[in-house]
Symmetry: C2
DNA sequence: TAGTCAATAGTTGTCCTACAACTAGTCTTG
DNA sequence: CAAGACTAGTTGTAGGACAACTATTGACTA
């Protein structure tokens, strides 16, 4: 075969691959902030895809806040600096985010058990009865230093046993990847919390202050996969949100 | 004239108008969560626009998390309930958000002065020197009750004087609307804060706990319009973020 | 000279038609 | 009854065309 897509590979949609590649080029500073990037026709001939595909890809980047498309003029790189690509709008695993920020990611497991689901978990994960779930308590590390404490509940009702075993030690996202059911969407709620019950070890903040990110991850078919409460220690992490009209 | 767009009016792009209308129909429960909506061809003949326009509009709704587009199958309404439309991803004024949640919005002005910009403000608003700015301190009310305290700095260097005067009392967004320069993008940072310096009156929280939303609003041409720090009182407001891949 | 306006080339927005790729159900066949 | 082929319907991509808009250039005017 010699389809135009072959220069990239993978089985994601053509639009997705083009979008990812242009994103990469922008982050690699191929164009300076505020600068006009190549026109849609030019990109489409270079990538050997139709203009429709390029347009859809650029629309994605516009929605992510990376570029600004102006009718009759061109597509311009926004100058939000390095902020956007590490924002909360894009769903990434903690490890991915940490390494994108230039730190060495790590996890410290405190609890990893299979137990019946609680009422809240049955509700959030849309379980029918007291199905067993995988419950994890972990410290999230950046360069060996704890930045957050995470309390996660994973819906294992449709997961093979070996994958569940793997999750007890490694990255949850990575394990889900192996069976091709990585979450594609998450709904997160943010709260400020003061509590002496949260966290452990001598890296806990003295004032008991945390930023709580409470979220439910969903699979491609809309099924809830994981319910997690992550308590971030103030000042050791930056949360950015891009808001658009 | 009798162009296809006439059934809606306004001068927003065709795609934008179609997208808004389908969004309205979904929120009006025309289709139940999980249900498949009309096909792209059907929508395009009904709206009397091309399938390309409908596709672009649906893509927008997919980014917003309202629908799920499945290759070869159809477009399905996501079942996130009423959460998404009030989320942080869409840029709305405080008043808009509060009334969407079913409360009566209000503002209580404490300070409204024009003064030279501080160092931080010069940086955030990209001002050249110590230009004068409009500084506001306000309590945000829902049903007459304070839910947040807001400290806002507005870049008035390119605003006519009467608009600035109007802002001292009414809604900032509404005033900007009159001269057609409403912000279209904002970059927000979220923090948890404990401070005795924030807020006033007897509705302040006893534990001095706030969720800080620190954001810069940008106009369509990329110019920073407003830098604001809004301190929300924990529990009186819900912050939702949709994260997608 | 300075300012206004028309012309123009370039770019994004929308349209049309066609076909490829995929999904989910129906039907056939052993 | 189960497995596989078939099929109608839907989204993804292609290619070409024109409309709408932007920014610049250059001519004309006061």
């Amino acid at each position: 075969m010699n389809t135009p897509a072959d220069q990239f590979g993978g089985r994601a949609s053509l639009t997705r691959r083009i979008s990812d590649d242009i994103r990469r080029r922008i982050l690699a500073k191929e164009w300076a902030p505020g600068e006009k990037i190549h026109s849609e026709s030019e990109l489409s001939t270079n990538y050997k895809v139709s203009r429709v595909t390029v347009r859809t890809a650029l629309k994605t980047l516009e929605y992510q806040g990376l570029v600004d498309i102006r009718h009759g003029s061109g597509t311009y790189v926004n100058n939000f600096g390095r902020s956007i690509p590490t924002g909360l709008n894009e769903l990434r695993s903690m490890s991915e985010t940490i390494s994108e920020l230039g730190y060495e990611p790590g996890m410290e497991y405190k609890v990893a058990t299979i137990r019946p689901a609680t009422k809240t978990e049955i509700d959030k994960l849309r379980l029918d009865n007291a199905d067993p779930v995988l419950y994890l308590e972990r410290a999230v590390l950046a360069d060996g230093k704890a930045v957050a404490f995470s309390y996660d509940t994973i819906n294992i009702s449709s997961l093979p046993e070996e994958v569940v075993e793997e999750m007890k030690q490694g990255s949850v996202f990575a394990s889900l990847d192996t069976i091709n059911s990585r979450p594609i969407r998450a709904l997160a709620e943010v709260d400020a919390v003061i509590s002496k019950e949260i966290g452990w070890g001598d890296e806990r903040p003295a004032n008991d202050l945390f930023l709580l990110l409470q979220q439910v991850h969903y699979a491609g078919d809309g099924e809830p996969l994981m319910y997690s409460k992550t308590y971030f220690m103030e000042g050791r992490f930056q949360f950015l949100i891009l808001r658009t009209r």
